[in-house]
Point group: C2
Chain length 294, copies 2
Amino acid sequence: MTGVSGIGFIGGALDRADALRHDTGALAAALADPAARLLVLDGLLPVADDGLLGWTALADLPAGAQPILLGLDDGGRPHFTALTAGMRVDNAPAMRSPALMALLASLRAGEAATYAAARSVIDWHVRHGFCANCGTATAMFRAGWGRRCDACGTEHFPRVDPVVIMIAEHDGRALLGRGKNWPAGRYSALAGFLEPGESIEEAVAREVAEEAGVVVTDVRYVASQPWPFPSSLMIACIGRAASDVLTIDRNELEDAIWVSRADVRAVLAGEAGPFIAPPPYAIAYNLLTAWAAE
Amino acid sequence: MTGVSGIGFIGGALDRADALRHDTGALAAALADPAARLLVLDGLLPVADDGLLGWTALADLPAGAQPILLGLDDGGRPHFTALTAGMRVDNAPAMRSPALMALLASLRAGEAATYAAARSVIDWHVRHGFCANCGTATAMFRAGWGRRCDACGTEHFPRVDPVVIMIAEHDGRALLGRGKNWPAGRYSALAGFLEPGESIEEAVAREVAEEAGVVVTDVRYVASQPWPFPSSLMIACIGRAASDVLTIDRNELEDAIWVSRADVRAVLAGEAGPFIAPPPYAIAYNLLTAWAAE
């Protein structure tokens, strides 16, 4: 289901074992299992070798670190990651670096998915140590899949932020845009966060209208994938543009262009074209591939 | 796009006017516009008459209330809702009452969508008055579409929680389940929150496996809608079940059954059948309708 030629960050091999999170006794047994494995992240970066994530024995859990259950493998072996004491994520700009992206591209199928889940949950803990309802410090519960406030009783759960990413098509051409400070020549599908009170289809239409001034209808869902920077759910769609006349919001986009199927096919095949394609583990790559194949 | 026969909570008539949220001068002008309208909620309940939401002049903004920009109508008139001082949402169980559901069903197309956006954003403000990163009290910014912490500088934005809701099909029958304490006879599509690090398709497969012990593949997207209790994005899908042998998780479901297309068509037509259908403004209704029509 995944790998460089598939959809990024999906196809993880672990069963999340939700029931275990709610069963204190079973969780204690998993934590005491000598076969239990631990995924240690270096800050939020993965440690990987030869395309595989670097696992160690859970017994190597650093002092003061709190284990987070990632799930069980086919043999029932529990796998954890850890929130280490004093972990910081405010060096985040380095996290989406070319070096990380190259490392992710080297991971075998499914490994990036496991990393994505671990990274998003750890990052959420680090940035959500206090109760948004009352301001008191909270504590991890449910094997790391939540935080609870003892002062007001509120339970908090990791965020997943849905993002729509879309191609507006008109007369056989696709609308692509580029943000400020992107690598030279790089264009990709427009995208934006879905807001409370709107459907996926409405968010697609709103974003294209806001960024490019184009009315979009007939929105079709194509695919989804997680994007752990920090915790997005990417929802890829194609819609029909009523016009190819653009009114670009220069606060959002540096530029936007219409590209033909022939252009997209050439670029995806590694040939020269009017733009440089997004990387294969970004869903924009799959979205362009799907559109080019229509 | 909406109304009782369409998809619930979509088709709102207001342009969200994102640019206005970032433009202090334009926002001040909108707030001073004598034509500006205000949607007052009674707690979190809508005030409605004859299928229309009850709007008043923005000049009627209660003392101490903070306006939240909902958007502009076709004539450019700004529309606001308000976070009133001391508003509480901890009487939430009453919020999803039969009375509210009946009122929502009576609203004209698009009105429930405007209400959904207002309700979700207000509810988020009330439950997120403190910085999750450092515990300090935060303040509204961006015309109500965010909160900022002056102590640590963190910006917070309203949550949207993606939920997958799905029909697993096997040999022409659909899997439905019922939760504890549901109205007698009511069955609906299985559903659950999507977690960090998984795609829509993976979440669908995981939820059906967890709740009913059935392996699901070939997941297809059907439709989406907001569900403002408090801020879900419902993502409806159909998948293929590998077997019709159920292993029900009794912590999650009170019961689960397989129903035929004839059963579903009868129930949706208001005839007697093996279950009572979900209400039309719930996406499960549209999902069942889509499946029955295949």
